[in-house]
């Protein structure tokens, strides 16, 4: 195909909109002046790049302590929400797949709802539920809220995977004398692991950057990284530290995706390639 100027221009605009902001964040993580947010001094002189925001973060400086606190909270919640929703989501998907009942479509709808419901609705209804139950909002309510919507994603991902799972493998495992648990851990789990990892990854990313639902159920004083950042004043002197942390988070997420890709590759495929 011939490359026209037009298509190149479209490509350029799309790339700029997709990745420009990311590059900007990356660059502003090295800005020398947090108040003016500029690489240039008052006299127009280029001040160069500064690594001080990174050293603030890694040095545990008190001015970035609340930011770091919210960051660790986010990681803890995302990690826990991922594990819990993977366990619940996997069992739910297996049950939905195996036991076809007359209420099947109802069950599917129940799993599907959180995917299509507006976040704001989930947030409000969860808050009302917690208030009605007299629960103090905080870490646990955030976790429960995140698990609630993450489970749906894990379940749907895995149900799609189960569509091409050969149920006769389970029968042949039973036939060879294996009980249900042995079959689950030695046959089903290894074969479904790529699906579970994919669902878990989705859950993790959804949990770690959720603002809307979290802002309803976080209660006073408990902030996850996204809610903390969004509540920070536009002119906070430490904003570049947020950029630096975001850059770190981006690297971390990329690494996570890479690892999961490597994990979910089927052993037989990698073997074949090596031959």
């Amino acid at each position: 195909m011939k490359r026209s100027f037009f298509s190149l221009a479209v490509l350029g605009v799309v790339m700029a909109f997709l990745y420009g902001p990311v590059l900007l964040i990356f660059a502003y993580g090295f800005v020398p002046n947090g108040a003016s947010m500029s690489f240039f001094g008052a006299d127009g002189r280029f001040l160069g790049f500064s690594g001080k925001w990174y050293s603030l973060i890694f040095g545990g400086h008190h001015s970035v302590a609340p930011l770091m606190q919210s960051f660790w909270l986010s990681l803890r919640i995302a990690g826990l929400a991922t594990v819990v929703s993977c366990v619940i989501g996997t069992t739910a998907a297996l049950a939905l797949h195996r036991f076809k009942s007359r209420l099947q479509s109802v069950h599917y709808a129940l799993v599907y709802t959180p995917l299509v419901m507006p976040d704001i609705l989930i947030g409000i209804s969860l808050l009302m539920l917690f208030v009605a139950c007299g629960v103090d909002c905080g870490f646990w309510t955030i976790l429960v809220a995140h698990v609630t919507f993450c489970v749906s994603y894990v379940t749907m991902t895995l149900l799609a995977r189960l569509q091409d799972f050969d149920d006769r493998l389970i029968e042949s495992a039973y036939d060879l004398g294996a009980g249900p648990w042995y079959t689950f851990f030695k046959v089903e789990l290894p074969l479904l692991l790529p699906g579970i990892v994919a669902g878990g990854l989705l859950a993790f990313t959804l949990s770690i950057d959720d603002v809307v639902i979290t802002s309803f159920v976080n209660g006073a004083g408990t902030n996850t990284f996204p809610t903390f950042v969004s509540s920070m004043t536009k002119h906070s002197r430490n904003l570049p530290a947020v950029f630096a942390l975001s850059t770190l988070m981006l690297c971390f997420t990329c690494a996570l995706v890479g690892v999961s890709k490597a994990l979910s590759r089927n052993p037989q495929n990698s073997k074949r390639k090596s031959k």
Binding site: D166, R168, L169, E171, S172, A173, Y174, D175, L176, G177, A178, G179, Y182, K186, V187, P190, L191, N266, P267, Q268, K271, R272
Partner: protein, 389 residues
């Protein structure tokens, strides 16, 4: 004495369909027993009940004197070779075969030596570390057999294990299966819809039709002495003659008058009396046709005049369709000598048709048989149908 494996009045329904209807038979220890029947006749269902994947609605299944009807599949000492092999895709050939032994918690070195032995038996030693998607269909097949055999089951169940293979490979696997059976001496229960496979491998065959076992006998017996018109037409080709006994000239023989055909002599092992209706089956290769009248009139030989309607030459034999009265008869004639044994037979020739009275067999039923299972109609009809389109 009760048989090694016994089905006692086993019935299985799926909603309104009766998949298996009162199956009662025994299989001897070490026997190669086949379930043969057309698609949907309940073979797989019967096998799955033995493996424990389906519960019979009625009846019991006993193995070596023990009732195993209610045992779960993992507690039965039977193993299955599934139709699509169902090998574990995430395990190597070695680990696939070792699966059952690992479940049983056998020591590591024992597992290794047992699996090695199996790999040698199925000639897959050099593929032990391959994964199922790296080996061919025939090799998967052999791994599936090894994976089941390594557990030393009392009965090995095989559900159409060769269906997915091409003809050449199927013939080779057939031989290998036979060798493996001789070597391990385990009872084989083999499901197939291919009469050739069943005939060549089995000690005995159960012919199934719509959930009912119509005949259980040795292959030769099933072929030569079919009990019902279904068995006669499903296994090999045959000619049916519906007639009435008109006379019993000597003990064990009777004369049949067949409408639109002729009066013929046939062996009367069913002790039919004058006036009884009889459904007679005569295999196409039991006839002789010749231009000259058959020499040396043998006793009890039926000899008729016939007109050749169609000839299909197929190398080692020729198929003829001849008409006698209003009936058409299919005949296979082998070429016993080089090129042509006798005077050549051509379309439209008047020929002599002969067969011995002993070579017809009376069936138990006179039920009309499935049209699609009858010998092929003469091509004239087919040509006419083709033109009509």
């Amino acid at each position: 004495m009760a048989d090694f494996l016994e089905f006692q009045g086993v019935t299985k329904r799926f909603g309104k369909t009766i998949a298996v209807n009162h199956a009662s038979f025994g299989v001897k220890k070490g026997e190669f027993f086949s379930l043969l029947g057309p698609s949907g006749c309940g073979k797989t269902t019967l096998l799955r009940m033995l493996a424990g994947f389906e519960r019979p609605d009625e009846g019991r299944i006993c193995l070596d004197g023990k009732d195993i009807t209610d045992l779960p599949p993992n507690k039965r000492s039977v193993n299955t070779v599934f139709q699509n092999y169902a090998l574990f895709p995430h395990l190597s050939v070695f680990d696939n075969i070792a699966f059952g032994l690992k479940v049983a918690g056998r020591p590591k070195d024992e597992i290794e030596s047992e699996v090695e032995k199996m790999l040698r038996l199925v000639q897959m030693e050099d593929r032990a570390d391959h994964f199922p998607n790296q080996i061919s269909g025939g090799q998967k097949q052999r791994v599936a057999i090894a994976r089941a055999l390594v557990n030393r089951p009392r009965v090995l169940l095989l559900d159409e294990p060769l269906a997915a293979l091409d003809l050449k490979l199927r013939q080779r696997m057939l031989l290998e299966l036979d060798l493996i059976h001789d070597e391990v001496g385990i009872t084989f229960l083999y499901v197939t819809h291919d009469q050739g496979e069943a005939m060549s491998l089995s000690d005995r065959i159960a012919v199934m039709h719509a959930g009912v076992c119509e005949q259980i006998a040795r292959p030769a017996e099933v072929y030569e002495a079919p009990k019902t018109s279904f068995v006669a037409s499903f296994i090999g080709d045959t000619n049916f003659f519906d007639g009435v006994v008109s006379a019993c000239p000597e003990p064990n023989y009777c004369r049949l008058s067949i409408g639109g055909f002729a009066e013929v002599l046939c062996y009367n092992d069913k002790q039919k009396a004058v006036g009884d209706r009889v459904n007679l089956s005569v295999r196409p290769e039991k006839f002789r046709i010749s231009v000259d009248p058959p020499a040396g009139a043998a006793p009890r030989l039926n000899v008729l005049r016939a007109k050749v309607e169609d000839i299909i030459y197929s190398g080692n034999h020729t198929n003829y369709w001849v008409s006698v009265g209003e009936r058409r008869v299919a005949i296979y004639q082998q070429h016993l000598a080089y090129l042509l044994d006798e005077k050549p037979i051509r379309w439209g020739d008047e020929v002599w048709l002969s067969w011995h009275a002993d070579n017809g067999y009376m069936l138990d039923d006179s039920a009309p048989v499935d049209e699609s299972l009858l010998p092929p109609k003469i091509p004239q009809n087919a040509a006419a149908a083709g033109e009509a389109k």
